[in-house]
Amino acid sequence: MFGLEKRDANLLIAVGALVLLAPIFLNPFPEGSALAQFNAGYPDLMQRFVIFGIFAIGFNILFGLTGYLSFGHAAFLGAGSYAGVWMLKLLTINVIPAIVISTLVAGVFALIIGFISLRRSGIYFSILTLAFAQMSFALAASVLTPITGGETGLQTALDDPRILDAANESRNIPAPSLFGLHMNDSAQLAVGDWLWTFNVGYYVAGIVMLAAFYVAIRIFRSPFGMMLRAIKSNQQRLNYTGLNTRPYMLACFVISGMYAGLAGGLMVSMDPLAGAERMQWTASGEVVLMTILGGVGTLIGPVLGAGLIKYFENIFSKINDNLLHQWFSFLPQGLEDFVVTIIHPFIGKGWHLTLGLMFMAVIIFLPGGLVELGQRASKLFKKRNPPQTGGQKEPAE
């Protein structure tokens, strides 16, 4: 189906179902209950899940397939964001030009940076990309202020030309929309105590993510993807097999950069504000964390990793001492305080610490990330059941 093998088609359908139903199952706790604060089914967060998912899928096409570790990928996300806001300002408040142009702009940007950075490999490549990203960040925050809005950032304004749109009569800055559907519009559905929010922007971003995921599957299974994996495996052999690695790497880098730009374009389509900090190397580090936590080189891993980190950032960070005291109130008083004190540094504002530890644990023990964890668990599960017949050893998903 869709030109995919059965296994991949099933994966795509499963991810599609998850994306469509996310507003429901991300809100497992009834409204007003004590656990309702762990509901992740609100538009802002769900948008971030899928948008960072796209970013991580794109990063994984580069790092997962070729093993080239870019530490400057946020530069493309930032470039895409700026291009997107400019489209929303100059052309039209419709998000489609913004999304398309940000992808293209990031692609051109990646072409330039890639052309230079890919002259070197290994750690030198990482440092070159890092240097370029830091340079872009510094320039965006200072000299390029007329284009980037400097440290305050770039946003839409009332008096923007928007040449394709009708004159703006109202006194409000228009919200980004898709042929009249506003990105921040939501429909709410209450079923019993549960409240589900279906947001336009989320579904636009979700559908784009599914398309991006589909393209990534096709790339992974294509001859092009195979050559990229061959680059990671043995670049020397590939050269002596008559293949020129340079254009392969450059094409891969540009595709990966375009994914980042697409994510940037979607980001400003949801909230038309782009700031320089989006390009900083910590932002590049974040996508590295996502991809590796989820499972580098796997199809679904980056999406899982992006979801996990964004969930942590937004939900896990809300846990505070009061809540912990509630949870451990069954313990005797002294023990309760002790447990809360032990856990305290890891929760709330300390979620970065937990994240760092988790990340290290994954690198040390689980190089395949969450996906490998799942595979190991299912193997353990299968062992307890009667042995299955046949089953070729397949390369990791």
Binding site: I219, M226, G242, L243
Partner: protein
Amino acid sequence: MGILEIKDVGKRFGGLQALCDVNLSVAENTCHAIIGPNGAGKSTLLNCLIGKLMPDSGSVMFDGKSVLGRSPYEINQLGISRVFQTPEIFGDLSVLENMMIPIFATRDGSFSMDAMSNVMSQKDIAEAADKMLSEMNMLDKRNMQAASLSRGDKRRLEIGMCLSQNPRLLLLDEPTAGMARADTNNTIDLLNEIKQERDITIAIIEHDMHVVFSLADRITVLAQGTPLVEDVPEKIKGHPKVKEAYLGETH
């Protein structure tokens, strides 16, 4: 006029004259061996043939075209395939994928932006790969990860990958170095088979006399950067100059 013509090649590293006036002609559809004691300049000569080193003087022509200054992939596209001292394969990929990559390279050239079709749906490539694998007696291992093959199988796979491109010249660099006797003999048999069944020129750089004498149609002995003698194996065996070069080295 041979298919590979090396003319007046010289290479100097600082004070060391690694190659000096090397003239060599490899005739089409023969197996030509280049032997010599350690330090004779075999590796330097090889590196000049494959674009890794630029000689200071002279020319290297393959089928009328210069190979000097070309990158490895261009040299391969000219029709030269290379087998390495230690088997170089794509360890993370399956045996089948290993075999498909060179076939893709032959069909589509040095770069093809085919990012949307499925690898396995390209029937002609898959069939060619399977055919080559069965020629190498490896069809049963087609789904194994290449890194998990035995050393001998890795060597077979690498040779198969080179042959799948139908090269006009197969370049072997000490193909049996570090191999057990049985594996060495298997490799010799395989190469002899290839020689008989295909129209292919083989150039082999080797240290091991046993390998050379079982394969080569013609032998060039290299010593101190210059060709000492060139002749058929029978004549090389008892040649006084060759003995001198080898014995001189051991003393």
